[in-house]
């Protein structure tokens, strides 16, 4: 008998996309806002400039993708950490809903916040 194909590729795609985007871009943010600006290596842009930047459609889309996909990356990884690391596979339905549900909630919140900047 042929078994049903898994829907995990969907979650894995979000996981992979989140891992890639956060690995590439989060270090840049840490370097800029966490190190270079506090140490005075580069001048700190004022609030108005940053606000204008954040309101640009491309920036909105970028922040949304960065936050949402990173959350889904976390969700997938945390799901398997709970399954295998903490041996909680018997709670898989709850874990599944908790992990991806949290990522989805975070995505909605991010969307609302970015929309209303």
């Amino acid at each position: 008998m042929q078994k049903k194909r898994s829907n995990d590729p969907f979650w894995w795609t979000l996981f992979g996309a989140g891992g890639t985007i956060s690995a590439f871009f989060i270090p840049v943010h840490v370097l800029l806002f966490g190190i270079a600006m506090p140490l005075g290596w580069i001048s700190v842009p004022d609030y108005e400039t940053l606000l204008q930047l954040a309101q640009h459609p491309v920036t909105r889309l970028y922040i949304f993708a960065l936050v949402s996909l990173s959350l889904f990356h976390w969700a997938h990884r945390f799901r398997y950490t709970l399954y295998d690391g903490l041996m909680l596979k018997h709670l898989e339905h709850y874990i599944f809903i908790f992990c991806y549900g949290s990522a989805l909630a975070g995505t909605v919140i991010t969307g609302v916040l970015i929309w209303t900047i």
């Binding site: 078994k3 049903k4 194909r5 995990d8 590729p9 894995w12 992979g16 398997y80 295998d84 596979k89």
Partner: protein, 247 residues
């Protein structure tokens, strides 16, 4: 006097004792001896009742894999001296049923290997008179690495997911599936996908990577699985976004 090294070998003799136990042996520590030589010495000189599998003594047949100091290795290619001053703890491969002493049950593994259809599948075979299937060196190099697997099962013993999810089809079988998927003479990927894109298939893997660490033939099953995940994801999205497209 000759230097010796202490071997602690896990014994399991179901008709005598239902519980496994460690038995200690002192064997000569010789520079040119591998672990398998020490086991053969025990079998020939000390205790003929010890059971274990071996054949080629040169890392080709894949039958002498065991846990040595908690790590899966081929005993024919690991020197005793590496474990100086001992003791060396030898046990059957992890996550397999044990038949006797160091001999493990391989039926489950063989069944998994068979399930991925590790042979060339053609929609239509060429008649012999139409000639052979030609392949360039580049086409060969696409899959050659994955064809080096000797079915030693070390990767199964190293994989924590195999331990937790016994139905997981496992590293060697997936690498072997890729060996045929990447062969340009093969047309059977869709049939293999039916096995490997299910819940027991590639997406059970959490990329621990230990399979590739312990592989004595550098097959890199972890890499094979990751490449398969990309193909599997593409397949999934295609089937969702283009429901009337290719089957």
């Amino acid at each position: 006097m000759e230097t010796t090294i202490n071997l602690q070998v896990l014994r399991y003799i179901p008709e005598k004792d239902p519980d496994p136990f460690y038995q200690e042996y002192e064997v000569p520590l010789r520079e040119e001896w591998v672990i398998l030589d020490a086991l053969n010495y025990i079998k020939d000189q000390i205790d003929g009742t010890l059971s274990y599998r071996w054949s080629c003594r040169m890392g080709v047949c894949g039958s002498c894999g065991m846990m040595v100091n908690e790590k899966p290795i081929l005993t024919c290619e690991t020197f005793l001296e590496k474990y100086m001053p001992g003791p060396i703890r030898i046990a059957p491969l992890n996550y397999f049923g044990v038949i006797r002493d160091l001999v493990v049950e391989t039926d489950g593994f063989m069944e998994k290997v068979k399930r991925v259809k590790p042979w060339i599948i053609r929609d239509k075979e060429k008649a012999p008179l139409e000639g052979e299937y030609l392949q360039t060196p580049e086409e060969l190099s696409e899959y050659k690495q994955y064809s080096m697997c000797i079915n030693c099962m070390l990767c199964y013993s190293a994989c924590p997911v195999v331990g937790l999810e016994p139905q997981f089809i496992g590293p060697a079988a997936i690498a072997l599936a890729q060996r045929y998927n990447y062969d340009n003479r093969d047309e059977g990927q869709n049939q293999r996908n039916d096995v490997l894109l299910t819940d027991d298939g590639i997406f059970e893997c959490t990329l621990v990577g230990e399979c590739s660490e312990v592989c004595p033939k550098k097959v890199d099953p972890a890499g094979a699985i990751q490449r398969y995940k990309v193909q599997g994801a593409t397949e999934w999205w295609t089937s969702v976004l283009l429901p009337f497209g290719k089957k």
